[in-house]
Amino acid sequence: MINIQDIRDTARDMLAKGEARMVIGYRRGTRGMLAEPAFITDPAQADDLVWDPTCFNNLSLYLVHDKKFLAHMRENPKGPVAVVAKGCDARSIVVLLQEHYFKREDVYILGVSCEGAGVVDERKLAPLLNGERPSAAAFDGDDFVFTTAAGEKRLAAREVMADRCLECRAPYPKEHNLVFGEDKTGRQLEAPFAALERFEAQDAGQRWDAWSQHFDRCMRCFACRSVCPMCYCDECVVDSITFPVTAGTTAEEKATRIKWIERSATRSENITYLMTRAMHLAGRCTDCGECERACPVNVPIRMLNNKMEREAREKFGFEPGASIGGPSLVATFLDSDPGQFIR
């Protein structure tokens, strides 16, 4: 069991001693029980930090933001950023390190073990509370306890936990500078890829029926991409939201951007966007599930990434974010890679 005070003390201490220039963690938001990202630079604010099952956000995203912001400001401040990272988030940091996005010494990983639990899926929770609005959530053994106006409500973790946490194989941040909580790896409540396998049990026609509706719903608000620490490209090849124009950018470069898809959020374009994203995350996605959580129209985006993750694991023996010096999935190969599909 993690005592939040330990995290607060560490954060305060690091800031006070100048061991970190910022601590990125979670604090209580202003809209009910949900936690939100907190960016703490003043030791006095360290007591704002919280840790509970609503700490969804993969905060490694903000290491990317920080780097981009500093590049824009042409600032180069000293000292690392300390970041609170769950198992999946820490693996994202490892992938970012693999991809040389920043240096190891630039980040101080305050690992938090999910201790066999995980985060709440709001979509699962809402119907179970019959309209009651919780103001707080906590882990307790195999249950989650929600505080509502009517009192405490205890729900089995299995029922309200996010799929990604139910299936999590590595809820412990292996890569860390400091870690809070015990390593309870192996306590996942569902087999890995269980949701994926349930979906895959359907035939191709059923899968298409489901996906075509999902693709139709997508409005390309790009929340999936924006919330993803791996989607750090300055310009997305599929659909740009920023075109990296530098002093050296030529008129030709501006004129010759490839329009892989149209701006229209139609099915075909949404497919190309979402499928490309899945391809580009293959071997890089650490299954933090933020894309799926952020999606306002419930497109099961995580399943696409999960599919790639499972292929990589089963066919290529690949685990994303396993080690900083590890290989990347699509830039390497093994002699034993499957080739039966090739004629």
């Binding site: 298409w208 996906w211 139609t266 374009e269 499928m275 490309t276 190969f333 599909f341």
Partner: protein, 145 residues
């Protein structure tokens, strides 16, 4: 699988590596081995240069089938390109299958420079398979009014 549609002519994009499959298709030409005209070749340096984007984009732009063909494993002119391609195309194939696209719409083959007959056979079979599936309207851009 539905019955072959007699009047349906599939549109197929064929990414051929310059060293093996494109040369193999040249050999099919020199040998005058006939095969259907549905596959339009795009010659690329190596299958390793085929980005999954190309496959997705071809389907997006209305391809009924996409073929990627290159050197046999071990024969890559660039040593490793086809190994990289094999992995990437495997993932692409799996992803396309996952969302319910008919697996027969995407094909990869190894055709060496000496395998003119195999090239013709690969294209013939692929065109037949795609023809049976009918037009690809899942990923295709629909120009609506």
């Amino acid at each position: 699988m539905s019955e072959p549609q007699a009047d349906f002519e599939p549109k197929i994009v064929a990414f051929l590596c310059k060293w093996c499959s494109s040369a193999g298709s040249d050999l099919a030409g020199v040998s005058r081995i006939q095969y259907p005209a549905n596959a339009t070749p795009i010659t690329i340096p190596c299958t390793g240069a085929v980005s999954p984007m190309y496959i997705l984009s071809a389907f997006n732009k209305g391809a009924d089938g996409v073929l990627v063909s290159g050197c046999h494993i071990g024969d890559c002119h660039y040593i490793e390109g086809n190994y990289l391609a094999r992995r990437k195309m495997h993932l692409t194939m799996e992803l396309l299958k996952f969302i319910g696209l008919e697996p027969n719409r995407f094909r990869m083959s190894w055709v060496s420079a000496a395998e003119g007959a195999k090239f013709a056979q690969v294209v013939t079979e692929f065109v037949d398979d795609v023809r049976k599936l009918g037009p690809q309207d899942k990923l295709r851009k629909v120009v609506s009014q």
